[in-house]
């Protein structure tokens, strides 16, 4: 009997939820559009960062790299990452053209062989240089990459945030969904929970120490990713973050990849 009652209850809940779900989706989408619109116009960026990897035994290893990006009108960003350490991978570089719909284009430069290698866009769920960040965690945010659903308002470090679920459109995403906490004052993502394909909580990313660069764009200095399933974690610590430095297209082609060092 009880089972039957619960059955009715759950049907009722589902119905009531679906009545409001269109509204929640619209609100989720609107928040994403606003966040993207506010962050347009930074032109190009350049930063130095440390990547601190920590395994389940608490052992750490630090990698250093440089990241450059350029904004594209009506398309995803282009970016070039160059590794400075560990020293045996020094000079390894990674060029990526991200697209809102369709596959990203990615090339890897292997300095020992002087070889430029196109890599499979399906690698988006793969680990970025042994870290807990996957390739897709590091590509530019584009509104069309997800569908949305607003969940609730919640405080993060005393700031009021919208909590929104993002469902990846790409069937090759490593995630079923992401839940993001976006602060209502500045539209900054403060925290993201990543759910794997089986809809189990996989990772949490926390962004802290925001800097207001050129008094126009907020950028976090610390990105901390914790993998709940493996117990491993990765911290990205940015320094020398500059925007609108005058980089142009010639800094983001395959010739630029070959001379990156």
């Amino acid at each position: 009997m009880n089972l039957f009652k619960y059955g009715i209850l759950s049907v009722a809940l589902t119905l009531s939820f679906s009545v409001f779900s269109g509204e929640a989706e619209d609100k989720g989408l609107a928040i994403a559009q606003e966040a993207k619109a506010i962050d347009l116009g930074w032109k190009d960026s350049s930063a130095v960062l440390e990547m601190i990897l920590k395994n389940q035994h608490g052992e750490t290893s630090t990698r250093k790299m440089r990241m450059k990006s350029i904004e594209q009108k009506g398309d995803g960003d282009k970016s070039l990452n160059i590794f400075d350490s560990p020293r045996d991978v020094k000079g390894t570089a990674f060029l990526s053209f991200s697209h809102p719909v369709g596959n990203d284009e990615q090339w890897l430069y292997l300095p020992a062989l002087k070889r430029v290698k196109r890599i499979s866009s399906r690698n988006k769920s793969g680990s970025f240089m042994g870290s807990e960040f996957s390739f897709e965690d590091l590509t530019s945010f584009e509104v069309d990459k997800y569908t949305y659903k607003y969940l609730r308002d919640e405080l993060v470090d005393g700031d009021n945030c919208w909590v929104v679920v993002q469902y990846p459109v790409d069937k090759y995403s490593g995630y079923k969904k992401r839940i993001v906490w976006i602060d209502q004052s500045e539209h900054r993502i403060r925290k993201t929970d990543f759910y794997d394909r089986k809809d189990t909580l996989l990772k949490t990313l926390t962004m802290t120490k925001f800097h207001h660069i050129n008094k126009a764009f907020w950028r976090p200095q610390i990105l901390s990713m914790v993998n709940h399933q493996s117990g491993k974690s990765t911290v990205l610590n940015f320094s020398e973050y500059v925007l609108s430095t005058g980089l142009n297209e010639k800094d983001f082609n395959k010739n630029a990849l070959k001379r990156a060092r």
Partner: protein, 405 residues
């Protein structure tokens, strides 16, 4: 023991360039000037008796490759100097010095000039690099011919919406390096005085041009080369002492190269085709296959790649290529751990000679600066016309420890 380095002044000078200078300069922290590189200790261990009495069962060597780099004019100009040296316990041909890079690069808005000694890689496939023709192989470094000698060149690169065009003038030819009498694996009777079809010999001016472009998921390149063939024909003869000798002969060739890669989700389809025109026998050859990748296997960060390729050469068993009708299978496992542990397994099977060769390469980092690689190679060949036949007793394990600074 180190025959080419018996002179003390020479030894000190080379020691300075390869060991002392780089470590002194690497402490200089400046954006405009940079030094890095590595030292290496390597041992090769063979488990069968050598085919030739001059060869040994164990062979040690030391190598160094510093890189000096200058950048100025806001990064639009740069200069790179990369010498490379190896001292081998027995093989006097493997004990050698080469300049891998000594070049000035100038970057304009949609063009770039690269002048000096350089290495340039073309191609998409993994088990053989058919299209790759600018540089000569430094085959004493390793039997896989992945190491290349520096090539003098003037290279103009033009970046256009419809692709990148590279034009090369190559004013000097580098002879292929071959193992000496005591080198193993090796053929201890290759003559060091190659023959050339051109009367200009190694001073023949070679020319190359390549167009490369990406259209969505497809990477395409077309290339044309005119000049001295990098891949010699080995001509047998009998010396005055009555011994067999192989003399490298370098023909003048015209070679068309086609590279194609389709990046379709988890699979990469790869194809390289060449057409070679020469005075002996024009031919077509191809290398193609598929690379399939699995990401995050065993619920971990590890990636596993599967490779299958096929090689064909129109000349068949008369070809001077080892790969005229060969099948290849490989696996690449990257654990994506802190130590960047990687294992590569490769297997090739010659469908004409029924010979096989197996390769295992494993590497791991220790601490921040030391990388250790363990390579194992096994050869199996029973037919005397098969180029692999001369390596049939050269199964070996190779351990390399590299220190990076």
């Amino acid at each position: 023991m180190f025959k080419k380095f018996h002179h003390p002044t020479m030894f000190c000078l080379l020691g300075g360039i390869f060991f002392i200078l780089p470590t002194m300069l690497s402490s200089v922290e400046a954006n405009e000037f940079e030094v890095r590189g590595n030292f290496e200790v390597q041992g090769r261990f063979f488990h069968e008796d050598a085919l030739f009495s001059s060869q040994h069962d164990q062979q040690l060597s030391l190598a160094a490759s510093p890189e000096f780099f200058w950048r100025w004019n806001n990064g639009d100009d740069s200069f790179e100097f990369v010498p490379s040296a190896r001292v081998d316990q027995y093989d006097e041909e493997r004990t050698h010095v080469d300049i891998r890079e000594f070049s000035w690069v100038h970057v304009g808005d949609d063009w770039e000039t690269r002048i000096g000694i350089r290495r340039e890689f073309w191609g998409v496939t993994e088990f053989q690099h058919l299209v790759d023709i600018i540089n000569q192989s430094d085959s004493v470094e390793d039997v896989d011919n992945e190491d290349k000698l520096g090539q003098p060149m003037i290279n103009l690169s033009l970046v256009r919406d419809w692709g990148i065009i590279d034009i090369y003038l190559l004013p000097y030819f580098r002879e292929r390096t071959f193992a000496g009498a005591e080198g193993r694996p090796g053929i201890p009777f290759v003559n060091n005085n190659p023959l050339y079809e051109s009367t200009d010999k190694e001073k023949h001016l070679d020319f190359a041009i390549r167009w490369a472009h990406t259209i969505d998921d497809f990477d395409l390149a077309l290339s044309w080369f005119e000049g001295t063939s990098r891949n010699p024909n080995l001509i047998p003869s009998i010396t005055n002492q009555g011994a067999l000798e192989l003399t490298p002969y370098h023909a003048q060739i015209k070679q068309l190269g086609v590279e194609f890669q389709a990046s379709l989700e988890s699979s990469l389809l790869k194809l390289e085709v060449i057409h070679n025109e020469n005075n002996l026998e024009d031919y077509w050859a191809l290398q193609g296959g598929i690379e399939y990748s699995q990401y995050g296997i065993f619920e971990s960060n590890a990636d596993l790649g599967w490779l299958v390729e096929y090689a064909w050469d129109e000349r068949g068993t008369d070809s001077n290529s080892n790969f005229q009708n060969d099948l290849f299978f490989g696996n690449r496992l990257a654990l994506n751990d802190i130590q960047s542990t990687e294992v590569l397994f490769g297997f090739s099977y010659d469908l004409d000679f029924n010979s096989t060769s197996v390769l295992v390469e494993a590497s791991r980092r220790f601490g921040d600066s030391v990388k250790v690689s363990l390579d194992a190679r096994f050869f199996e060949s029973n037919e005397i016309q098969d180029p692999l036949y001369l390596f049939r007793r050269d199964d070996h394990i190779q351990i390399t420890a590299q220190y990076y600074y």
